[in-house]
């Protein structure tokens, strides 16, 4: 028994889809005699002379009574060469949701066209959805060829018409097969009716199509799904490979922390040692270092990372008939093993699935509609564009109140810059494309409060964890960049402004900029915060609240003594004011512990 092929079919009763599936199942001896007997019994109860193969696939009573198919049904059949799973969905426009669902896991899409009718709106819609969902292989069965006398000209016409349309789509592999599902021509075996047709039968094609290379084997991605920790000596990160190949000994990085380590061992289910882990294997990975890794994190290679970011553009299909998608609404987004809250920032356009026309005036998406949206997530996602990786590029939206799955999304990429934001040359590299995401940690407090000790420890810890960080120490900057500034109010404001601007550049480049600066005036600090906010960079203000008496008793540089003696004028805390932050992101006090403990508190705040 060979590998698995997942097939999505779409179509209505008229185009013979059910008959084709019934034919495939019957000719591969998948329909059992008791199923056939039940079928004949049901058909005769409905007053039909011949067994109605459609009844095989219409599972629910409501469907049988109304002669419609309302949901995705899964069918199974196998040949000695391969095992097949068919996700069978109805073809009407009302069922776009089901088609998207069935197509989401498919390797191959089967589209039926009635030879007499040619390429209908419905055929185009099926092809579009197959291409949207990134199904690598598309097989078009031109059915009911017996009703057009097996005309090669008619087949060629239909093929050309479809091919012209498909040029607008992203289809990698397209095949056409003339068949008669009713009589079984070219379904399992080649038909004598179509001597002019030189291709293979449908089943032969399905058995032969090569899907092994459809997986992304380049970008190693392992979303951590579950941490297996039976005892102190074993800490395994379990997950399903979503891309690339990982091997024991490989250098890896863990997102979002950016910590690097090496793979010690890889285990398959039940503890089978694995040498090459590739999608869609489920594995448990042990790392050389004891770094903090949890569900929702992603293991990748240090030099091949996904995008990490909170603003992203996506194509979404709305799946709910009880609500609509409107800008401003919030949902939960389930992406790999991450579950975070997100808001819909913008609806760019609604797509007409029949004409591919983009309606930019649309204000909402309703049931079965597809459109392009921009999301802002509360926590960063680590993702790839859907076109590059279906596993790390797909998500679903969940309604927080009803818990229902309401949207299916395919990530296009980081949100494109809005024109109004571009006040200078737009960078060729967006922040999300950088290896890490930076921020500014601004430590303010009196002289002698312990800022430099905490800042130095914080920098050391970040760098040790593989995260770029750089300490901008107020004293050190006064040696060059700010060497022209004194300690008057205006000079101090300029000192804070320049340091803030430098910190912002470091943070923008992906580093954690750590600023250790008295920065006594609230207004100056707030201006730096505002500049960061405008650039979309996180700014974490930390107030090191060491009482003046403690600072003065420490007096590491002997400055307080000199200020008390009147040798220094305008010294903060003595004869110049220190304006404590009104709403700092974190307050640290000496009673909280030594500099290492205080640095840990900052790290914990950063990891939030």
């Amino acid at each position: 028994m060979g590998p698995l092929l997942r097939i999505a079919t779409a179509g209505s009763v008229d185009d013979g889809k059910s008959t084709l599936i019934g034919r495939l199942m019957y000719d591969t001896k998948t329909i059992f005699t008791d199923q056939l007997a039940a079928l004949e019994r049901a058909s005769s109860e409905r007053g039909e002379a011949a067994p109605n193969l459609a009844l095989l696939t219409d599972g629910l009573r409501m469907e049988r009574e109304q002669g419609i198919t309302i949901d995705v049904a899964y069918r199974y059949f196998a040949t000695p060469r391969r095992t097949f799973i068919i996700a069978d969905t109805p073809g009407h426009v009302q069922y776009t949701r089901n088609m998207v669902t069935g197509a989401s896991t498919a390797d191959l899409a089967l589209i039926l066209i009635d030879a007499r009718k040619g390429v209908l709106e419905q055929s185009r819609r099926h092809a579009f959805i197959a291409s949207l969902l990134g199904i690598p292989h598309l097989v078009v069965c031109v059915n009911k060829m017996d009703l057009v006398d097996w005309s090669k000209e008619r087949f060629d016409e239909v093929r050309e018409e479809f091919r012209r349309f498909s040029l607008k789509l992203d289809v990698q592999d397209l095949s056409f097969i003339p068949i008669s599902a009713l009589h079984g021509d070219n379904v399992v075996g080649r038909s004598a009716e179509s001597a002019w047709y030189e291709g293979s039968s449908l089943l032969h094609h399905l058995e032969e199509v090569h899907v092994g290379s459809d997986q992304n084997l380049v970008d190693a991605r392992l979303p951590v799904q579950y941490v297996v920790r039976p005892h102190q000596d074993f800490r395994g990160y379990a997950g399903t490979m979503a891309g690339g190949v990982l091997r024991p000994g490989d250098e890896v990085a863990v997102l979002p922390s950016g910590c690097t380590s090496r793979i010690a061992r890889i285990w398959g289910p039940g503890g089978v040692p694995v040498q090459d882990a590739f999608p869609p294997q489920t594995v448990t990975v042990e790392l050389d270092d004891h770094i903090d890794v949890g569900r929702g994190d992603l293991i990748c290679r240090p030099n091949n990372r996904p995008h990490v970011g909170q603003d992203l553009d996506a194509t979404v299909c709305w799946l709910s008939d009880r609500s609509t998608l409107t800008p401003g609404a919030t949902y939960l987004v389930k992406h790999t093993s991450q579950l975070v809250r997100t808001s819909v920032e913008h609806l760019n356009y609604r797509l007409d699935v029949n004409t591919l026309h983009r309606d930019e005036s649309a204000g909402s998406l309703t049931f079965n509609e597809i459109g392009r949206i921009r999301l802002r997530t509360q926590e960063p996602l680590h993702y790839d564009p859907y076109k590059r990786n279906r596993g790390t590029g797909s998500f679903v939206l969940v309604d927080e109140v009803t818990n229902n799955t309401v949207g299916a999304g395919m990530i296009i990429g980081p949100a494109a810059q809005q024109p109004a934001d571009v006040v200078w040359h737009a960078p060729a590299v967006s922040r999300d494309q950088r290896a890490t995401r930076g921020c500014t940690v601004w430590i303010t407090g009196l002289s002698g409060a312990g800022k430099s000790s905490v800042a130095a420890e914080l920098e050391r810890r970040l760098v040790a964890a593989g995260r770029p960080a750089y300490l901008l120490d107020g004293d050190n900057l006064r040696h060059d960049l700010n060497s022209d500034l004194g300690f008057g109010r205006a000079d101090r404001a300029e000192n804070v402004r320049r340091t803030g601007a430098v910190a912002k550049l470091f943070a923008d480049s992906g580093a954690v900029a750590i600023v250790s600066l008295v920065s006594p005036y609230r207004q100056d600090r707030d201006a730096v915060r505002a500049a960061h906010a405008a650039a979309g960079i996180d700014f974490v203000e930390i107030f090191l609240d060491t009482p003046l008496a403690v600072c003065e008793s420490r007096d590491p540089k002997g400055l307080y003594a000199r200020a008390r003696a009147g040798a220094i004028r305008g010294f903060t805390g003595i004869d110049d004011a220190y304006e404590a932050p009104l709403d700092p992101d974190l307050v640290l006090r000496p009673s909280d512990g030594d500099p290492a403990a205080l640095a840990s508190a900052v790290l914990a705040r950063l990891d939030r």
Binding site: A73, T83, G212, W267, P269, G270, Q281, L319
Partner: protein, 303 residues
């Protein structure tokens, strides 16, 4: 050595099931696995153990006990639970009958099949289980072919086929409120033949009645029913000795057996590959109630 980076179909199905187990345990506070000693639940338990290796099974197993059991299956159940050190919860139909919560059918053809639903829902509610692993497969029956892997149940345990959550990629949504729960079917995409090939390849032990043995049986409605102490015979029925095996294991009063000489997993695989009758069609009186038999029971909260 060249590597093809392609899984066999059984490896792909195993990976899918392992992913599902891990997803549920990572997101649901109180899962439980329905364990009857039947082959599907045995394979399911095996996959669950593999998913969390080297840790022990992070949830208990629950048996819905009709009281009409095959002795071999109960022995097997207790031996497995004992050997693996997993916690077993039993919810018994007899308790419901004794307390008057349900009324037992009587006479020829009487079965406790339908009464299992009450015991199942009571077991789930009593223990506050939020996710319930079941061994149902989509190839078994028409209504099951349309059920999700993560299947939502309302506070009454009911399945609403028209209101199922869309299920895309491998992104499963098991969120539910207190009192509601999720049924999870890790074997959704397995066929009977896949199950047996896996049992063969993994050398999984099963209750002995899955293999050919001689026993006293009664022919009824085109099926062979085991002549056990639970079966009420009509005056025309005459038990005969035959060489049989069971394709499914459920309530002893409605689970039929088939004539067979297959004594090993290999022989069973060969037999099934050649058979022309589905396992439920051959052996389950409970599915013959009507064309929509399974759908109706599922809506009430059945497995």
């Amino acid at each position: 050595m060249s590597t093809t980076y392609e899984l066999t179909h059984l490896q792909a199905l195993e990976a899918e099931a392992v992913h599902i187990f891990r997803e549920v345990v990572a997101t649901s506070p109180r899962p439980v696995l329905l364990f009857s000693g039947g082959k599907d639940s045995v394979v399911m338990l095996n996959l669950a153990l593999k998913a969390f290796w080297p840790a022990p099974l992070p949830f208990p197993v629950m048996h819905i006990d009709t009281g009409h059991n095959f002795d071999e299956v109960i022995e097997y159940r207790d031996a497995v639970v004992d050997r693996l050190g997993v916690r077993l919860v039993v919810s018994s139909v007899q308790d419901d009958i004794d307390s008057g919560r349900v009324v037992e059918e009587s006479g020829v053809g009487a079965s406790r099949n339908r009464l299992q639903t009450a015991a199942l829902l009571r077991g789930i509610a009593d223990h506050g289980f939020g996710a319930v692993f079941g061994g149902a497969r989509r190839d078994e029956e028409k209504a099951r072919a349309k059920e999700r892997v993560f299947s939502f149940r309302d506070e009454y345990g009911r399945w609403d086929p028209r209101n199922q959550r869309p299920e895309l990629w491998n992104l499963y949504n098991g969120r539910h409120r207190k009192g509601e729960h999720i049924r999870v079917f890790p074997l959704s995409n397995w066929t009977e033949l896949d199950i047996w090939r896996y049992i063969r390849d993994e050398a999984i032990e099963l209750p002995s009645i899955y293999y050919a043995h001689r026993r006293s049986v009664v022919a009824r409605d085109g099926m062979l029913l085991a002549n056990t102490r639970f079966l009420t015979l009509s005056e025309h029925e005459e038990p005969v000795q035959m060489r049989v095996r069971f394709r499914t294991v459920g309530d002893a009063t409605c689970t039929g057996c088939v004539e067979s000489d297959a004594r090993t997993p290999d022989e069973v695989v060969d037999e099934i590959a050649a058979t022309r009758v589905t396992e439920r069609g051959a052996t389950r009186a409970d599915d013959r109630i009507s064309e929509a038999g399974m759908e109706d029971r599922k809506k009430e909260g059945y497995f």
